[in-house]
């Protein structure tokens, strides 16, 4: 980020993009009067580069790239405390969700680890219809080059019958493939 950011009036493109994000999130960012209640109650704000309140402020000022590039949106755990407490009814958790998806669409992801974990997870669902924990962790560790992460937990999980080395498969796997393809298609409209 540059030391000085010039803030000017929103361009037509920016305005359209913010409107689109608001529609997807089902919320209105201009309702926010910056009281900070969301950020005081946020259990992960201690680790964020911009607090939830600041993320909304960035959007209000039209600094969309800064908001999409914030690490905060990937640290948010979607615990919904902010949305529950907002005195103005801003659905901040849904906005965070929308920002993550927009960042993904633009290939502009500040925390690749979370995005890779999500990808690994959904790949197993697409393939088998169920999530397959051992496969996800293996793929995640390989793709993030953390080969021995949580390795000490793998065997005890299997010993307890809590993780299977093989995926659980549903019968309607072709339905799954169709759902994934159609969701992608319907999202483009």
């Amino acid at each position: 980020m540059e030391a000085v950011t010039r803030i000017g009036p929103l361009t037509e493109d920016d305005r359209r993009l913010i409107e689109k994000l608001e529609k997807e999130a089902g919320t209105d960012i201009n309702l926010c009067y910056q009281c900070g209640k969301c950020s005081a109650g946020c259990p992960v704000s201690f680790a964020m580069d911009y607090t939830p309140r600041q993320v909304i402020r960035l959007l209000q000022l039209g600094l969309i790239d800064e908001a999409l590039g914030a690490e905060s949106i990937w640290i948010c755990a979607t615990c919904e405390t902010c949305s529950e407490r907002c005195p103005r009814g801003v659905d901040i958790a849904s906005l965070m969700d929308t920002l993550r998806r927009e960042a993904l669409r633009r290939g502009k992801v500040a925390d690749k680890k979370v995005a890779l974990f999500n990808k690994a997870f959904l790949n197993t669902v697409k393939k088998y219809g169920r999530s397959y924990e051992a496969g996800i962790l293996l793929y995640h560790n390989l793709s993030t080059r953390q080969f021995f992460k949580d390795a000490e937990l793998g065997l005890p999980m299997m010993k307890r019958g809590k993780a299977s080395p093989f995926p659980e498969k549903i019968k309607g796997r072709d339905e799954m493939a169709k759902i994934f393809a159609r969701a992608l298609e319907a999202g483009r409209e």
Binding site: A77, C79, N118
Partner: protein, 397 residues
Amino acid sequence: MKLAYYPGCSLDGSAVEYGLSTERVARILGVELKEIDDWNCCGATAGHNTDKLLSLALPARNLALAEKEGLDVLAPCAACYNRFKATEHAVREDAGLKARIEYIIDMSYSASNNTISVLEWIKRLGIDNLKAKVTNSLKGMKAACYYGCLLVRPSSHTGFDDPENPQSMDEIIKALGAETVDWAYKTECCGAALATSRPEIGGKMIYEILQNVKEAGAECIVTACPLCMMNLDMRQGQVEKRFSQGFNIPVYYVTELVAVACGDDPKTVGIHKHFVEAVSYLKGLPAKAKAMEEEEAKAKPAAKTKRAEGEKPSDNSEDIQKKIDAILKGLEKNPEKVVSKLIEDGEKVNILADVIKNDEKKRVKLAEVMAQDKEKAIKVAEALIVGEMKKREKSSN
């Protein structure tokens, strides 16, 4: 009662005990669970982080299958429950979304059925009904009921309990004979997948929850979420190492405790599969309960003899006189503070303080009853206040 049952991936894997115990609770409480045929994963956090339509379509396929049979859905996993509620909400509120979801899953779905959580389910069957089924009381247990995020939030979707200070799990655990503590982190987030993706952040969140459990004086944690269980139980060892602090706090699923209190062996519902050893705390409860009962029995006769001795003047009268003197001193020095032990209402406290400041007889009388019988003292205090208020009313007329 017959419900469609959605175990979700966790109850088949890392939360196998949650599945076993949920099925046992259904049997015990006489509920027929019909597992949704060929159900699929709800997409969890990965789904809604990646694609909005996909995150609604994956739950919708399961919900539509249950709707076809006209059944409400029991979803014990808090994360699945949250995704199902979000899907119901979207389909009910947004006709455009409903049409797109139906197109994606290639089935009709209008959210005419409802998803319920385990807490709602057990509460709906009746706390008294549950109490009647308890054969092995959990008396002696001191539990911190941990709701986490997704069972109670967003309340516009879930709505069955208070989002800041929920009580449903506490009611269930108390019905089993255990004691529950008030604590500050009951709806704090455990960090969910952050423990995997960003352990430096997730670990700290888990540590703070465990720390608060300890500070509140609880000896175990009760949860209704597989991810909370994984973080608090499986990762407790990692957190202990990182923060150089021993916790050794057993964690239970609410359904495990219901089954055990209703007569199941802890092993039947898989409690021996936990990472933090959790069977021996349960095995130790009867001895603790016995000690508590003996303590209570001892306290009772002692109270009785005290009262009996109080009737005929004996050595005890000296003690009581001392107590009266001490209270009297307090009433003279700081009447508001002392009477606020009897009366909560601030205005009434002030009225009573005025009365006894100006009337020594009434002051002594109040000190005498306060020293011997608190309930009687409250009555006397109230009578004094009523009298004074009437007096003031008259003089103002």
